[in-house]
Amino acid sequence: MADFEIPKIKNYLEIPAVQEDVMAHSSPFIAKPPHQAGLGFPEELVDDWENKAIEKMGDLLGKYRSFQVYLDSCVKCGACTDKCHYFIGTTDAKNMPVARQDLLRKVYRRYFTFAGKYFPKLVGATDMTKEVLDEWYSYFHQCSQCRRCSVFCPYGIDTAEISMAAREIMDEVGLGQKYCNEIILKAQTIGNNLGLPERALADTLIDLEEEVEEDTGLPVKYPLDVKGADILLVTPSADFFAEPHIDGLIGYGKVFHEVGASWTMSSKASEAANFGMFIGSYANMRKLAMRIREAAIELGVKRIVFGECGHAWRVAYSFLNTLAGPFDFLDPNYPVPQHICEFTHGYLEEGKLRINKEENDHMRLTFHDSCNVARGSRMGPTPGGQFEIPRKIIKAVCNHYYDMAQDTIHDATYCCGGGGGLLTDDLMEIRVKGALPRMQALKTVVDDHGVTNMAAICAICKSQFTKVLPYYDFSMDMIVSVHQLVSDAIVLTGSEQEKELDGVEDDEAEATAE
């Protein structure tokens, strides 16, 4: 199945002994010249790249307080060393968060600190060399920017910030990652990461409407580019075709239908994900965010709601207002943006949605907190709402729910292993190995509580688990969308499901029943 060793799930999570350079071979494909140029980066590694890299580092040090403070503040206490899923899964020393940061910190010290300039050996400072650059390219693409290390650092040092800066420096000298940069360009030119043009989207949505009508007997709409709608739904493009993502999209549509919401999707902003964050590029992140603003203005909507997507929600919740605000042209009675879970949860609380939980009785569920939702965003008015709201939704639509171990959920959650721009086949080994801690926690609830399915609210998590679960002898369809559960349990007014539940009403059906 794989040309590398798949980690074994043991009885409990073991902190491995450190090994050196066992993942040094892992590097993603390098971006092609058009993708580099399209994002405003040099097409290939420039001459004099050493100086350009240092220059860019200096530029970032002046622009990002996080970068400056974090490079200075680490005391090497070791608190983060056993917190990264990639370290636990690979045992590679450089996948310890502090060691990953040090790949960049040692260069920072050499060029920007007194101690590093005059006593490099003493403080572990090194010149910017090709070996260093290669190491950066390898190990800064073994970080999913999940921020778990930041939670446990006494100073809140966030390796994601260092990783993003490293990737931006590499892009700036012409060494970009193919997967991210290709995708960003597609989203900036076509509107979504998959490069689905408007026609293809429209066709997909028509198919979806037919499918839902067949199932429910109701004309549930999945509108695209409808001017004057109240709500613009921005969802990850994987929701348009991938499993189990699309079942989530079906769910959003059913909720909107049931509450009588006027909504639309946009072909221009047909992507919630913002890969600009992965490469640490404010400019590219902003370009993507501006498409959402423009779509909202062009369509004349009053609200923006985001579909289930992890890093997307972090960018949307934490950065959208910064990058593309102010949103004073939208209805001030609603948060901008709002998460689909906040939307659905509100109506569930009000008792506006009829739910038949038994529809989900064939499943025993657990919930995977997606890293960037858990540690980089919020839902609802109070801190921690991002943990409570999705769980409340699941418990409202399912009878059997079990949390995984405390140290693997909420803000201590483990990344799925595929986030941060690593969801590509050329990084399969690191993806599989990085999933180990989550697989371990899942195995425990499977054994203890007979859990059959794991729900998530992130397109990357869903794709990653679909691919990785089989490596650990789980079934790939264990992973489900939260709104897929809503979709299966919701009883739409006037639907076939309602008739079935309330007893057959019309005479014709009664006659056939006899």
Partner: protein
Amino acid sequence: MSFLSIFYALLFYFATGLLVVGLGYKIRQYAKTPAPLKIPTTPAPVTKGGVVIRMAKEVVFFYSLFRSNKWIWLFGWLFHITLFVVLLRHLRYFTEPVWWWVDLLQPFGKYAAFGMIAGLAGLWARRFLVDRVRYISAPSDHLMLALLLGIGISGASMTFVSHTDIVSVKVFFLGLMRFDLQPLPSDPLLLIHLGLVAALMIIFPFSKLLHAPGVFFSPTRNQVDNPREQRHVAAWAVAEFESAGDQQKNNT
């Protein structure tokens, strides 16, 4: 006046000057560098008051470290809290008359030195015993612990083993503060202790000791979680992207 007294007087003026200027420079740098994006590690407080509480939990109790690793927390917190008490106790050598609460601290301050030494020894042991920590330790990390341990042991020795002429030491430092040079006793333990302290003050602004001001400027810990309610944008981002010609903006 002995050469030694003059040397130590100059050393302490130099060390103090460098500490104040160096630290001032770094704090100014941290304060002036913008944080262009909202990146608090969530769940995060939604009010400024909440941030003050979060920061206090970090600085006083090392809350995140406690969640992370009980051994590092035990040794690290023990070292810092006892160092703090020891430092307060040392105020008696710089004040005349000695403040009443510094007097009150005196017995605790004396024995706190042992906590300090134990904490440092524990932290240093981890650098040898835990393979992960061994891997990430540079020579400077070992030297820093050696320096602090040297300060702790030489200081405690003067309290518990071989007393120095502490009255003269106080006269020396009170003199320094008034720019009135007084003789310094020449016990080897005292000279070692003071020399190491001056060295620590000198390297403070150039080393990882910057974590002390750094923690207060850490955006993941000091930001209010309110990005939807309040627009947060850095001056450089406005200058770079939102200056006059931004048509999309004007559409609204």
